[in-house]
Symmetry: C2
Subunit: 474 residues, 2 copies
């Protein structure tokens, strides 16, 4: 521990108390490694404030003593965004003790949740009031509100409800100087210059610490329907999506995958089987949901899919006959990553292009990748309706795992990212930049990064907040 860190802990002990400062290495260790074990670091202590006032005290003291802080929620970052640096220069600022739901107003469709509230707990709390918080994702049992806001998280319901940015009505945060940004009153109109709340959404904790957020709630689910569709190519998928969107506002998920991904998932999951008879090159999972008990998403899907079958837009389709069948469909979708990983080393890319450009991109980028790296195999699956897929490139059979990750992966990633940029896309759709994509962002968007760095330096002049993530500073 550096002398500055020691002095900081001394100053904070009377404020945070015993529960708020952890220095036992055994208790710190699990939080020094990301959940996928791709990144690791070292932190001499964890600070765990219990309320916003304590966060203010921590940030004031950290600025005074020039001690770096790495904010952490559920430690479920996909990009090493919450892992401390190796050199022990930063302490972890854990937000998990701030886990209160301060206010739930089902009538007004709004909840105020503290940064440490776990997503699954927020879902349960909303459901208990007959409403729901619609954003969801695989890590819902760990991911916290503060991290979801700070990474502008996505997930499988973005199609209808948007990302965290679209669901966040206001943010409470502590800025590096310890001042409070109180944006929780959730004014429907507020024109007071630069929107600091919007700036903090997606800032990955580099500009201050989000302590709570006012979030939008959606009506509870009255009825839902889940369909599995087989079709010839991604373009047909987009045609179907556009038809559905023109006909209804009930479409919440529209997930596409190639036959090989489905086959991998079926092989990977004990007892699983493909939802459709026969073979189809591409598959789509559709979820339609309504809060209106009078609406009938099943009938709507039946009508639309029957028409699409007649017109040749889709080759085959089935609507889940029960909740358990719908769950089985979703289990296949959620197993794709694990199933592909079981096939051998692969490098993943969380990328997006404009929705209209995605069908072509999926086909052409995979072909370009296969041609450029003989023996490897590229494929994409995911959120077609958002123009966001997870694009995987699997190593050639027999490739040494360590060599693949140490050498080939970076070359492949640069190639994929170049294709994405040429298509007007983004190298980070919903996972964030963190430490994993920081240098790629700088390579591909130097002017954007120059502006980001200028803002970062202005608000955090000593570079104390989540150092090394998102943007490299002097």
């Amino acid at each position: 521990m550096t002398p500055a860190q020691t002095a900081l802990l001394q100053a904070l002990t009377p404020i945070l108390g015993d529960k708020g400062i952890v220095t036992d290495p055994a208790l710190i260790a699990p939080w020094e490694v990301d959940w996928r074990r791709r990144f690791s670091g070292h932190a001499p202590a964890i600070l765990a404030p219990a309320d916003t006032g304590q966060v203010q005290a921590v940030l004031r003291a950290a600025t005074e003593h020039r001690v770096r802080l790495v904010p952490q929620g559920g430690n479920s970052s996909m990009v090493g965004g919450a892992t401390p640096p190796d050199d022990g220069s930063a302490l972890i600022l854990s937000m998990r003790r701030m886990n209160r739901i301060r206010r739930m107003d089902a009538d007004a469709g709004m909840v105020v949740a503290e940064a440490g509230v776990i997503l699954a707990d927020l879902h349960a709390a909303a459901e208990a009031e007959g409403v729901r918080f619609p954003l969801t994702l695989g890590a819902k049992g760990n991911a916290t509100v503060g991290g979801l806001v700070s990474t502008n998280a996505g997930g499988t319901q973005v199609l209808r409800f948007g990302t965290m940015r679209g669901l966040t009505l206001g943010v409470e945060a502590v800025l590096p100087d310890g001042s409070l940004h109180d944006g929780l009153s959730a004014l429907k109109k507020d024109n007071r210059g630069y929107d600091l709340g919007q700036l903090l959404i997606g800032a990955e904790g580099t500009l201050g610490i989000v302590t709570a957020a006012a979030l939008r709630l959606a009506p509870g689910i009255a009825r839902s329907a889940t369909a599995w569709v087989g079709l010839s190519d991604p373009a047909a998928g987009l045609t179907l999506l556009r038809r559905l969107q023109a006909a209804t506002d009930m479409i919440e998920s529209f997930e596409i995958m190639p036959a090989e991904s489905l086959a991998a998932a079926v092989a990977h999951l004990p007892g699983a089987r493909a939802p459709l008879e026969g073979t189809h090159p591409w598959h789509v999972l559709i979820e339609a949901v309504t809060g209106d008990a009078q609406a009938d998403p099943t009938a709507m899907l039946e009508t639309q899919l029957a028409r699409a079958l007649e017109d040749g837009v889709v080759a085959d389709a089935v609507i889940a006959a029960s909740d358990s069948q719908a769950e089985a469909f979703w289990l296949l979708r959620h197993s794709l990553s694990d199933a592909e990983r079981a096939l051998g080393p692969a490098v993943q890319h969380d990328i997006a292009v404009p929705v209209d450009a995605m069908p072509r991109f999926m086909v052409e980028a995979a072909a370009a990748c296969d041609a450029r790296f003989p023996g490897t195999h590229a494929s994409g699956f995911g959120h077609l309706g958002d123009g966001n897929i997870h694009f995987h490139v699997r190593a050639a059979p027999g490739t040494d795992r360590d060599r693949f990750y140490a050498e080939d992966a970076a070359t492949i990633t640069r190639f994929v990212h170049d294709l994405v940029m040429a298509a007007g896309g983004t190298i980070s759709a919903e996972h964030g930049i963190g430490q994993m994509k920081r240098d790629e962002l700088a390579r591909l968007s130097p002017e954007r990064v120059a502006a980001i760095r200028a803002i970062k330096t202005a608000l955090d002049p000593h570079g104390l907040f989540n150092p090394g993530k998102l943007v490299a500073c002097a």
Copy 2:
């Protein structure tokens, strides 16, 4: 003209051509005064680039020669946001020549419009394609896309569609260093760190120049219905609004006004008459709109208003029987400001508080104001559904107009703003800060302004862009 300005014009002449540089004082004069004639200044020249490349050239040259620029669209700011300073130190950067609609995609619900496109022209272009751009406001014949984005403008349709921030899918802008921020591809998910587009929305041209925006379109209007309702107080108005919002998503406008405002408008407009017989303390104008030809907004309003009459929530109501009657209702609403102005000198405040707090605020703030400034008369009208009203304080009868504006107005405004802040509100709901509210913002929100100033200084280190607006810099 300063030597630096002369050098700048020389450098830009080959790039902008004759049409792009105006130095004739007679042609400049109309743009040196705001449309309400509250603010005036002096600019030695107007620069009028024709495309984004020219804007980049202008910004690079301005930064090189250290010449200040005041961006201007339709010159319809309510807060002196587009008026040059007095001392001639800044040139006007007019965006009006950049008035192309680059792309209109009715199916995807998206239009890309350049900064100089006038709002009414955008409305017409969308209508020609069977869709619409839903934001509208009084200055629609002048206000431009660049100004609407840069002020995060509001208007009468915010209730359903949000402010410009909610309707803006992406922004193209030139940053002070001349670099292009190309955010037009309108990715549905993009997590590349700080959202520069969001930062530019509402930045009032102080961080760079918005050159184009990708905007969301709504379905064309298939059917609409307009109602006028009399009721006892604003709380009843909010109850009615909540009921309507629970029953339908068709409610686009919900405008409230006290009886005295309606009376002033009726007296002010030749041949106008009040929509309802009898007297009611408060009035509400409701507009329900649908893009679905099967939906029936008239029947919906009839059902809901009949129930509200039965329950005593409203005292009387009428649904416009024709388009011309609906227009007559709206004309009354749009005449309120002019009608009140005709009654004598008054100071206006564009303020918002949380929607639930607005009914009480309207009544209590007016009473507090009347008590504090004997003889004056305070009242508010406007967008109840947004928690945003225009709160006017009329001078005591016989007050000298000049003395009122020179002395009393500032005292009254500070008092009103203190009430607004105590209610968790904002001193600028939809008009922006400009030069009019700059010092009040600094007085009431010093920490917010410190962060704004840090960002401003980081991105515009020489203070060249819209100097003196929004935030005072050294």
